[in-house]
């Protein structure tokens, strides 16, 4: 993805509930996925161009950086009302893209997000913005008020997506995106997705089982050699 994707005009400003009301029913044979960032080997900094992978989805940091802090680390100003588990915190003027590893389509049912203010915080209203890229080639852009230093739970219901880019805007009479002066910092957790055509991909838990099996094989071979 390139930056050229970014920031189509925010032509509709809708609150989350009204968007959700307009959505059609989920497609048949859907498999729900929740990206919760609680994958310890991937804790740490996500540099620009690097990606976080969970449950067949890839989150690519497109600008500045993100931090997935180990649970319990208090990040200044960041939300903490998610039960203390890990989450994705993007800093500076960071933005990131969500897509499936296999390029398939998905529904974005909802997510948790909250603004991370600098000290001192911005006085203006902060907006969480989405650039939506649909499987049919159409695009849309939407925005929602974002709580400061706390997670808000958004029910979305966007269907048949190919990719979504997340960023923030500041409202000062008009929208300015992404939020400048390195104030565009936000946290995201519990991204609820539905995969219409699940592709058989090993999940992290499956990887662990495979690894254990290989280790077990090694041990048994040594035993055989004796």
């Amino acid at each position: 993805m390139t930056r050229a994707w970014m920031f189509t005009t925010l032509r509709s400003m809708l609150v989350a509930s009204s968007v959700a009301m307009t959505m059609a029913a989920p497609v048949a044979h859907a498999a729900p996925v929740v990206i919760d960032f609680d994958v310890p080997p991937q804790f740490g900094i996500v540099f620009p161009g690097e990606a976080y992978v969970e449950d067949g989805f890839r989150i690519t940091q497109l600008n500045d950086y993100a931090l997935i802090a180990p649970p319990g680390d208090q990040l200044p100003g960041a939300p903490s009302n998610n039960g203390g588990s890990a989450y994705y915190a993007t800093y500076g003027e960071g933005y990131f893209a969500l897509e499936r590893e296999n390029g398939g389509s998905f529904n974005l049912d909802g997510l948790w997000a909250g603004f991370i203010p600098q000290d001192p915080p911005l006085a203006q209203t902060i907006i969480l913005a989405f650039d939506l890229f649909f499987a049919d080639g159409s695009t849309d852009a939407l925005a929602y008020n974002l709580p400061v230093s706390a997670f808000g739970n958004y029910n979305l219901g966007f269907e048949d997506l190919e990719a979504v880019i997340f960023y923030t805007c500041v409202f000062t009479g008009s929208f300015s995106c992404p939020t400048g002066n390195n104030n565009g910092q936000f946290a995201m957790d519990n991204i609820r997705l539905t995969v219409a055509d699940p592709v058989e991909l090993p999940e992290p838990a499956s990887f662990a089982l495979v690894s254990a099996a290989l280790l077990g094989l090694g041990v048994s071979r040594r035993r055989t050699a004796r």
Binding site: G44, L67, P70, G92, N181
Partner: protein, 1020 residues
């Protein structure tokens, strides 16, 4: 490599102490206990109501609840003392400080710290003590001046019924400055003069103090003017090397003169005769001539000068008593900490402020160096400047050369033989030792020779001096002693000659014989001529010098910036402190006469003296505060301080221009008339000062609230009348709140300027009803101001008639990052996010290095010994850190180790860092050290039983990164001028060790901006 060497100096000290005390391990400590003192107790003990006075009221020390609470504190104190074996205590504190002072062993001190009863246990510090014209000079006597104003009771603002407490060297009560009667002419007379009529009513009802008798001082010397006298000496006495001089008095009587001088400057009677060593010098007055005075003697003269002075535990007891006694204003012309606002003495003053007492302190006499003392924002720290009385006399030598210099004498000197002190000794100059040569040239008297060095061989020979004028060179002793030595030898007059190697200030002060002081520029001519046979000299009469430039900062006045917190302006204000004539002790007493005074068989004479020092400046402020306290009884100490700071006059340079550097004078030169109608004040409560302490990582005294309950405020945002921003990266904002203290509505508009900065105030107009408050934000944005240098300007609010001016100071920083980020946890991986501030827009580079685990060096050391470990620090080292931990030391907190790092092996070379805490937690960290062999030396200050105690020295060297690092860090790709950016660091290392890393910030051209050191303690 480890080397052992004996710590010679420390061992000598130990021997000396052992000879003088039963237990060489005992030291004087001030112990602060957990409960609030009575001045700030807000309730909470069952059955005892709050004792904290409401704003504008005083602590009532005799009220039932206060007595009950003080009784409760005594119980708690008793339990704490019992827990360490009922050690005898020196002082018990209850009112402005809760705790006690005592001689304790380190083990007892550690036990108290560990018990949870004591909030702090700190060794006692000792400090040294650091007026006819000044009421006119300050405009008090002018038509419409402050003395002509009326208080709500229609009494003139002369300090009526305001009580000023003087914590100093005591008082000489025979001076008419301190009498309560006046003669038929209305002039004040001293207690020992007969007749007259009573000029003062009984002490105000708030007064609960006492007049304590002692050597040469009895209760009859107190009266309705001098209403209290107490003295404190347990701290002084606990030093076995501190022996009172034979001219001291074990009582409130002044053994020095300093306390008498400061008392009369603050609140001495109007029109008191000033007779200086027998010479009439007119009449003098304190700033608040109708105030009542109470003296608290804590400063003592010692036979070994360096052991004398004012002990902190004695001073705290004086503050404690003064608050309970009901003083309104305290003056403390004594030294103080230059770095620690939470020093026990300063905290006692904070509690006094909480009880509504205004505190004036002296800035110190260590100028022009950056040595300002008393840095707590609750006190008014006063610098010393000149006033305009200045008489000069001509000096005409027999060879026709003419000079002039300051001279008090008014009659001149007819042609008189002139002799150089070198040639006027009892022995030929060439036969004297070097020390005696110095003593003779400088005209030391016998006392100087005893104190400064010199034998009787260095005495002046009356046969060579009598009837002549003598040339003495400046240096060594105080100038008046040169005249004393001359007079004792029968001299008729004196020239004090400054030299290129002496101080070259010129001081106008009275001497016991006609004297002129000459500048160093004339030294070659005068000294050469005076050495010739049959030399002679003529003095013209001293005449007022026209166009005297004043006020000018005294060079001795300690300068800012504040070394403890550069965001708090210190000193706060300047006041006259050069050539101040005020009451003094009688210097003419012989030993026998002194002894007769001490035993009560002789009443000594009054005397006056001209002194200089910030000690003389502070009581001007104390006295003016008393005038304001009378006019506005409900104003807080902070409001009084603000009124004085926002109404100052400029201080001048010697050439008459405006002095641009507020490090000398703070807000400026006090202008009492304008201070009495300030319009607006920047007020602050004791709670605000507690928040300030919390904001600086310090703990406020109990009673003002814990940091968790009061919160915190940054030093820059404390509501002071000064605005000082030490590290502005691009842009910064501060908020202030002003209160309209006038009786009418007013609209104020702001104007602010600071060279090289854009300054805005929002809002820039304030409409305020009487008594109303309004807040504003002041924002600085760097324009052309140079990075790293201070610039000075001002903020002024004006309503068209009044100007409320605040000094505004800022220092631009290229980049602001925390010097240290610490993380303490048991596990080995984690993350941190912190903010940095940039002064430019562009790219910033970040390079992370580490984490490096500690190198551990195990050894052992006993009391008085030192162990040095050598370290090779390679080029390019970013950080070198050396650290000791209680947890890694045998005996833990009860072991007192110190750590010194030198650039050189085995403890040789210059000391580049040292750490001397009272336990074994010690840390020396060197940023970007030059490549060399360094040594980290651990010395045993006090090990349990003086036995060898094992310890582990942890050390880290972090260079530039090479290969993969366990520390990873990121920051945004673009930074903005004045903007913040979040920096994240993550790491994953084995648990159970301590690690060091470094984050280095540089700009696009690789110019180093800052390092942030990351200390990861996985072994908490």
């Amino acid at each position: 490599m480890i080397t052992v060497r004996h710590f010679a100096a420390l061992s000598l000290l130990s021997v000396a102490t052992a000879a003088g005390a039963q237990n060489a391990q005992q030291k004087q400590y001030i112990v602060r206990l957990a409960d609030a003192p009575a001045a700030t107790y807000q309730g909470g003990v069952a059955g005892i109501a709050a004792t904290r006075p409401v704003p504008g009221a005083k602590l009532n020390a005799t009220a039932a609840n206060t007595r009950a609470y003080v009784g409760y504190l005594a119980q708690q104190r008793g339990a704490a003392i019992a827990s360490i074996g009922n050690v005898p205590i020196q002082h018990a504190y209850s009112y402005a400080f809760n705790g006690f002072s005592a001689m304790l062993t380190d083990a007892q001190a550690a036990a108290l710290r560990a018990s949870g009863r004591a909030v702090s246990v700190e060794p006692v510090e000792r400090y040294r003590m650091n007026t006819t014209r000044t009421p006119d000079f300050l405009g008090l006597t002018a038509p419409g001046g402050l003395w002509s104003k009326f208080d709500p009771g229609a009494r003139r603002a002369l300090g009526e019924d305001v009580i000023i407490g003087i914590i100093d060297s005591g008082i000489w009560p025979e001076n008419p400055s301190f009498g309560d009667r006046v003669n038929a002419s209305g002039q004040p007379i001293a207690y020992n003069e007969s007749g007259g009529t009573l000029a003062y009513g009984p002490p105000p009802a708030k007064w609960k103090g006492a007049c304590t008798s002692g050597a040469g001082f009895n209760a009859s010397m107190c009266n309705n003017k001098l209403i209290g006298a107490r003295y404190y000496h347990a701290g002084f006495d606990a030093n076995p090397r501190a022996i009172r001089t034979s001219f001291e008095y074990l009582s409130a009587r002044d053994g020095d003169g300093h306390g008498t001088h400061t008392a009369s400057t603050a609140g001495g009677n109007f029109g008191a005769r000033a007779v200086i060593d027998g010479i009439d010098a007119g009449r003098m007055s304190g700033m608040a001539p109708r105030a009542r005075l109470a003296t608290y003697k804590v400063c003592w003269e010692a036979t070994i000068q360096d052991e004398g002075g004012c002990y902190g535990n004695d001073a705290i007891k004086a503050i404690d008593d003064a608050v309970a006694d009901g003083v309104d204003v305290l003056n403390y012309s004594v030294g103080g900490s230059q770095t620690n606002a939470a020093d026990p003495v300063e905290l006692a003053f904070l509690n006094a402020v909480a009880a509504g007492v205004f505190v004036a302190t002296s800035a110190g006499n260590d100028g022009p160096g950056n040595q300002v003392a008393h840095i707590g924002p609750w006190m008014m720290t006063t610098a010393a400047s000149t006033h305009d009385r200045y008489t000069v006399a001509s000096v005409t030598l027999g060879n026709g050369s003419t000079y002039s210099g300051p001279s008090y004498q008014g009659a001149g000197l007819a042609p008189t033989p002139l002799v150089l002190a070198h040639n006027a000794g009892v022995k030929p100059f060439a036969e004297l030792s070097v020390t005696d040569q110095t003593a003779l040239q400088r005209c030391y008297n016998a006392a100087d020779r005893a104190a400064l060095g010199g034998t009787a061989d260095a005495a002046l020979d009356p046969g060579k001096v009598a009837g002549k004028a003598l040339v003495c060179i400046r240096g060594g002793n105080v100038l008046v002693n040169k005249a004393d030595a001359d007079k004792v030898a029968g001299g008729a007059a004196m020239i004090i000659q400054n030299t290129p190697s002496s101080s070259d200030t010129l001081i106008l002060q009275p001497y016991v014989i006609p004297t002129v002081q000459l500048a160093a520029a004339s030294s070659a001519g005068v000294l050469a001529y005076a050495a010739t046979p049959n030399a002679s000299v003529t003095f013209g009469p001293g005449t007022q010098l026209a166009g005297v430039v004043a006020p000018v900062m005294a060079d001795f006045s300690s300068r800012g910036p504040n070394k403890g917190n550069a965001n708090i302006l210190k000193p706060d204000i300047a006041a006259p402190g050069v050539d101040v004539v005020a009451a003094y002790r009688d210097l003419s007493l012989t030993q026998a006469q002194h002894d007769a005074v001490a035993s009560g068989t002789l009443t000594p004479a009054a005397n006056a003296g001209s002194l200089q020092g910030t000690s003389m400046a502070a009581p001007h402020i104390a006295g003016i505060a008393a005038l304001l306290k009378q006019l506005y009884p409900t104003w807080s100490p902070a409001a009084i301080k603000s009124a004085m700071m926002t109404s100052t006059n400029p201080v001048k340079l010697a050439d008459g221009g405006v002095d641009p550097t507020p490090w000398g004078f703070g807000a400026g030169h006090v202008n009492p008339n304008a201070a009495s109608d300030p319009g607006l004040v920047y007020d602050a409560t004791a709670t605000d000062f507690a928040k300030f302490l919390c904001g600086g990582g310090l703990t406020p005294p109990a009673g003002l609230g814990s940091c968790a309950s009061v919160g915190s405020v940054s030093a820059a945002n404390l509501n002071l009348a000064s605005i000082t921003l030490a590290d502005v990266a691009g842009s910064a904002s501060v908020t202030r709140t002003v209160t309209n203290v006038s009786s009418s509505p007013a609209i104020y508009t702001a104007s602010a300027s600071l060279p090289g900065w854009t300054v805005t105030t929002s809002p820039n107009a304030l409409s305020l009803a009487p008594g109303a408050k309004a807040s504003f934000t002041l924002t600085l944005t760097r324009d052309t101001a140079p990075v790293g240098s201070w610039t000075f300007g001002s903020l002024a609010w004006s309503d068209g008639t009044r100007t409320v001016r605040s000094p505004l100071s800022a220092r631009a920083l290229a980049f602001a990052a925390p010097a240290l980020v610490e993380d303490v946890r048991a596990s080995g991986s984690g993350s941190k996010v912190f903010q940095v501030t940039s002064s430019y827009t562009g790219v910033m580079k970040l390079s992370a290095s580490g984490l490096v685990p500690a190198t551990l060096t195990q050894s052992a050391v006993a009391t008085g010994f030192e162990q040095c470990t050598n370290f090779t620090v390679p080029a390019g080292t970013r950080v070198a850190r050396f650290q000791l931990f209680n947890a890694d030391t045998q005996g833990g907190a009860a072991t007192d180790l110190d750590l010194t790092v030198t650039r050189g092996p085995n403890g040789t070379g210059p000391v580049v860092g040292s750490s001397g805490g009272t336990q074994a937690n010690e840390l020396v960290q060197l940023m970007r050290p030059t490549a060399a062999t360094y040594s980290a030396c651990v010395s045993g200050y006090a090990t349990p039983g003086n036995a060898s105690a094992s310890y582990t020295l942890s050390s880290w060297l972090v260079g530039d990164p090479s290969g993969p690092q366990t520390l990873r860090a990121a920051m945004p790709g673009q930074v903005y001028a004045g903007g913040k950016a979040s920096v994240a660091a993550t790491w994953s290392v084995p648990a159970g060790a301590r690690y060091l890393g470094d984050l280095r910030f540089s700009d696009a051209s690789d110019t180093l901006l800052a390092d942030t050191v990351l200390f990861i303690n996985n072994k908490p």
